[in-house]
């Protein structure tokens, strides 16, 4: 891991990332080695191609959206900080965190932020609403070829109908939260990172 001097991970950086994301030291190091192995260009940042090189993502129905989530608005490269920031959403919520200092802004892996991540996967144009078309797009990606457009359209309509409380024919973030209130999002959107 140490051959590229400019991209070595310094201790201060590790501390900062630790504070921002909540990962442990060894987790950060481990994810850093993963980051560098993905970074074929060896320039300390990942581009979309680097992600697309992961075979399993290519055949994940939502692969492109996931990759997109790593890149902040309008950018094409993501550095390690950004990488970790996105991954931090998937850290499991630990009990002892709930009692932490309330002055600290909400941790990246809180339930709301996890839901926000999921919401953003639908809402491409960032207008804080999932329109029928956006929903349809994601549905189409997740579903096989056997469903006709009409059927899918009905499903999308029904989905919006269930969630929409203010009648604007789209799902806002609050409606999204409401609809998933019974779902164990903390578990569904968390992975156990290896130490």
């Amino acid at each position: 891991m140490g051959s590229r001097a400019s991209t070595l991970l310094r201790d201060e950086e590790i501390e900062e990332i630790k504070k921002e994301t909540g990962f442990s030291h060894s987790q950060i190091t481990r994810l850093y080695s993963r980051f560098t192995s993905l970074d074929k260009g060896e320039n300390g940042t990942l581009s979309r191609e680097d992600f697309q090189r992961i075979p399993e993502l290519a055949i994940n129905p939502l692969g492109d959206r996931i990759i997109n989530a790593f890149f902040p608005e309008g950018e094409d490269q993501v550095n390690f900080r950004g990488f970790m920031r996105t991954l931090a959403h998937f850290r499991p919520i630990e009990d002892n965190e709930k009692s932490k200092n309330a002055a600290v802004s909400e941790p990246l892996n809180s339930r709301t932020n996890k839901l926000m991540f999921a919401f953003r996967l639908y809402d491409l144009d960032r207008d804080d609403k999932i329109s029928r078309d956006e929903l349809l797009q994601v549905l189409r990606m997740m579903v096989g070829v056997n469903i006709s457009d009409d059927q899918l359209g009905s499903i999308a309509d029904r989905t919006i109908q269930e969630a929409d409380t203010n009648g604007d024919n789209s799902i806002s973030f609050n409606e999204f939260i409401k609809v998933l209130e019974k779902v164990d999002v903390e578990q569904k959107m968390s992975i156990r990172f290896l130490h």
Binding site: R48, E49, Q52, F90, N169
Partner: protein
């Protein structure tokens, strides 16, 4: 006798010499009969969902056996020790090894070996000891079975053959960890059992067993196993090396695979080393390199033949089991048999429990109780068990009792456990989910989250033992691949599949009308009509909602299971789902590209050619550049011109770096992401000038790509890693260093 003398003088018109052909004829008939049975099962496919194939085969065998018994026929005495060990077992093992999903396997190899080796030992010794204890009771009448024989029998009985359980697990979608553990266990305990079998047979022949014998036995066990692995590796590498030179004799390429594996098996048998391990290792090693060296047709042939032979072998064994059940002399001893069943079940359950407790701390994902139950209950006994017991040497007294007991256990587990495992596993899962009739949202969103989660897991490379894998990969790339692969380019199999799909889609485009191949809504429609609010509110009945839920649950893609495609024992790997996803990605890109800028005829023509061109470059460039070798993909001697672009600045920035893909490629293979991630400011598409040549190239590209020609058609490699294309460094440079063309082109609509 005058007549016969007269007859002898004439040439006989019609004669029949059955005796001459008898053996091969009867063999063929048996195979054919078993195959008809298989056809019969699949006519009504619902049957195979509820009743495992092994059940059906045994049933047919039972029927045939009953018929034979009624007419007082004897089944052909073909199933003897040599036939089984030299012909039938290798075929089954070859199939296991060749289609093994290497990645999940190696990621879980510790656990798999733990269950396979220690688990089988535990079971054998446990069952053997318990049965021996039972034998001490005079009331059961089995006192004459000594310890060695009990252990021998126990080792035979502990072999699991979880094929039926695997099919169920696959359908239900049991988590990957449980799946790979039970699969790997099934694979490896064949090896362990055969070793134990030989050891105990030998011991059973000894009148007295010394402790030193046991010690020697254990030492021998490890020697045998490791020796097998080494032999397998050796033969595997030699086979891979041989295929490096077979490009001129494509027709016999499949032969090498079979011959080398069989050689590995036989040589190991000769030295009394674990031939099963040798064959497994040989197949695993060989597959990776061979599939890169041989042509597409050979690859397909190999897979088909391996599957076919294995199916024949297994079918015959099960079939035979059914027949033999009826026709042989059985010795039925209630006590022994019932206790065997009980102990088999008990020891497996306890074994799984104890073993899991010990190994869970070492695993990143623990196996919970449900998984353990699945493991324990899925331990069906099968073909190998029967064959081993049937071929016991005759000096084992009470052999008939053993045969009967084995048959009883097999039939019990296959029928009762095999049929009941599906409802039980489903029930265990269904209890958890909360099917709320009114909520489609939950279903859609949770599936979406599952996909995201599995994507992130893959992204983090979570499940690999990363350090060793990385080391091995480096060694592989620098040393092994150079030696063993004819045309060395590191390429992932997904890339190869991608290319194959591209070719198919491209050819489809050229052949068929330029109609809509995909149903994916393009980015255009997203921005076209946002006024959906005018749509009147539909009324949805509860029945509609239920129907929707049904549709969704049947059609939504399940999250990736790396093992899924590989382990259905009776079928070839199925990658249709992957294909669907990849095709649609391409189609949606193409769809949007088309909708945007091509109104003129010129544009139309460009696109036809484009669809071939474009499919080449993104992947091959990306993959090439990932190897840091400045070699380009196909011979595009044509300067590519871009029509419009997404991110001009970003592209030129990346293009200045030596290892990033050229911007033209950038736009396209960022296609999916950028399509959805950014508003369409227009897109640059690569436009090759001489489209005519490209059309020719596509057609010729279908043929065997190994021969290089001066024109150099785009040799899209066959799937599963083929002999890669020839490279043309010139084209790469042309693309990389032509910024002037972009600025020229950027003005175009």
């Amino acid at each position: 006798m005058g007549d016969t003398q007269k007859e002898k003088a004439h040439l006989p018109v019609f004669t029949m010499d059955y005796a001459r052909i008898q053996v091969p004829f009867e063999f063929t008939l048996w195979v054919l009969l078993a195959s008809f049975a298989k056809i019969g099962f699949h006519i009504y496919h619902k049957i195979t969902i509820w009743i495992p194939e092994s059940c059906l085969l045994i049933s047919v065998g039972l029927v045939v056996g009953a018929i034979m018994h009624a007419v007082k026929e004897e089944p052909p005495a073909v199933l003897n020790s040599d036939v089984f060990f030299l012909f039938m077992l290798p075929l089954i093992v070859l199939d296991n090894g060749y289609f093994m999903p290497t990645r999940p396997f190696f990621e879980n190899i510790g656990t798999v070996l733990w269950y396979a080796v220690v688990g089988t030992l535990w079971n054998s010794i446990g069952i053997g000891m318990s049965l021996f204890a039972i034998c001490q009771f005079e009331v059961f009448g089995v006192q004459d079975i000594n310890l060695q024989e009990n252990l021998l029998f126990a080792s035979i009985i502990s072999t699991v053959d979880p094929v039926a359980a695997l099919n169920v697990f696959e359908d239900i979608g049991v988590n990957e960890q449980t799946y790979i553990v039970i699969f790997g266990e099934g694979l490896f305990n064949d090896a362990v059992t055969v070793v134990l079998y030989n050891m105990f047979t030998y011991l059973a022949a000894l009148p007295v067993v010394e402790p030193t014998d046991v010690f020697v036995g254990t030492a021998r066990f490890f020697l045998v196993a490791l020796g097998g692995v080494l032999f397998g590796l050796l033969f595997g590498f030699v086979a891979a090396f041989t295929t490096r030179f077979t490009h001129n004799v494509r027709q016999i390429e499949p032969l090498f695979v079979f011959m080398y594996s069989y050689l590995a098996y036989l040589v190991a048998e000769c030295f009394a080393i674990s031939s099963v391990m040798a064959l497994l290792t040989c197949a695993i090693t060989m597959k990776y390199y061979v599939e890169e060296n041989v042509s597409q047709r050979s690859c397909t042939t190999i897979r088909h033949v391996v599957k076919m032979l294995a199916t024949i072998s297994e079918t015959l064994i099960f079939f035979f089991l059914g027949v033999v059940t009826i026709t042989t002399e059985h010795e039925w001893n209630w006590a022994y048999i019932l206790f065997t069943l009980l102990f088999a079940f008990l020891w497996r359950g306890i074994g799984i429990l104890v073993l899991t407790q010990i190994i869970n701390p070492f695993r990143t994902i623990s196996l919970n109780f449900k998984d353990q139950f699945g493991l324990a209950y899925g331990g069906l006994r099968g073909a190998i068990c029967f064959a081993l017991v049937f071929t016991l040497p005759d000096n084992i007294n009470r052999k008939n009792l053993f045969v009967t007991a084995s048959v009883a256990v097999i039939i019990f587990t296959v029928f009762i456990q095999g049929i009941s495992i599906r409802p039980i596993v489903e029930y265990m899962n269904i209890r958890k989910t909360n099917k709320d009739v009114n909520n489609i949202n939950v279903e859609v969103h949770t599936r979406m989250m599952e996909h995201v989660l599995s994507g992130i897991e893959d992204l983090c490379g979570q499940w690999s033992h990363y350090y060793w894998k990385d080391k091995f990969k480096k060694f592989n790339d620098h040393v092994l691949r150079r030696i063993l692969i004819r045309d060395n380019r590191a390429e992932s199999s997904i890339v190869a599949l991608y290319k194959k799909l591209e070719l198919q889609v491209a050819i489809g485009l050229l052949d068929g009308p330029m109609g809509d191949l995909s149903a994916a809504p393009s980015i255009v429609s997203l921005h076209d009509e946002r006024k959906e609010a005018t749509r009147p509110k539909k009324k949805f009945l509860a029945a509609d909602v239920r129907k929707m839920q049904d549709i969704l649950s049947k059609n939504m893609y399940k999250i990736r299971q790396k093992t899924m495609n590989y382990t259905n024992k009776y079928n070839l790997p199925d990658d249709s789902r992957t294909r669907e996803i990849l095709i649609r990605r391409h189609a949606s890109i193409r769809h949007s590209l088309r909708a945007e800028s091509f109104r003129e005829l010129v544009g139309f023509l460009f696109q036809r050619a484009l669809s071939v061109r474009y499919f080449h470059h993104p992947i091959t460039y990306v993959e090439h550049l990932s190897n840091l070798t400045p070699r380009s993909s196909s011979r595009s001697h044509v300067p590519m011109r871009r029509l419009n672009t997404i991110k001009e600045t970003g592209n030129t920035a990346t293009s200045s770096q030596p290892h990033s893909p050229p911007p033209g490629v950038d736009a396209l293979d960022r296609g999916p992401g950028s399509l959805e991630g950014s508003s369409p400011q227009g897109r640059k598409v690569l436009v090759p000038a001489p489209k005519r040549r490209l059309l020719d190239q596509v057609d010729s590209g279908e043929e065997d790509p190994a021969d290089s020609e001066p024109v150099q058609p785009p040799h899209l490699p066959p799937p599963g890693g083929w002999a890669p294309e020839n490279q043309d460094p010139r084209a790469n440079e042309t693309l990389l260093r032509d910024p002037s063309q972009w600025s020229r082109a950027s003005g175009r609509p």
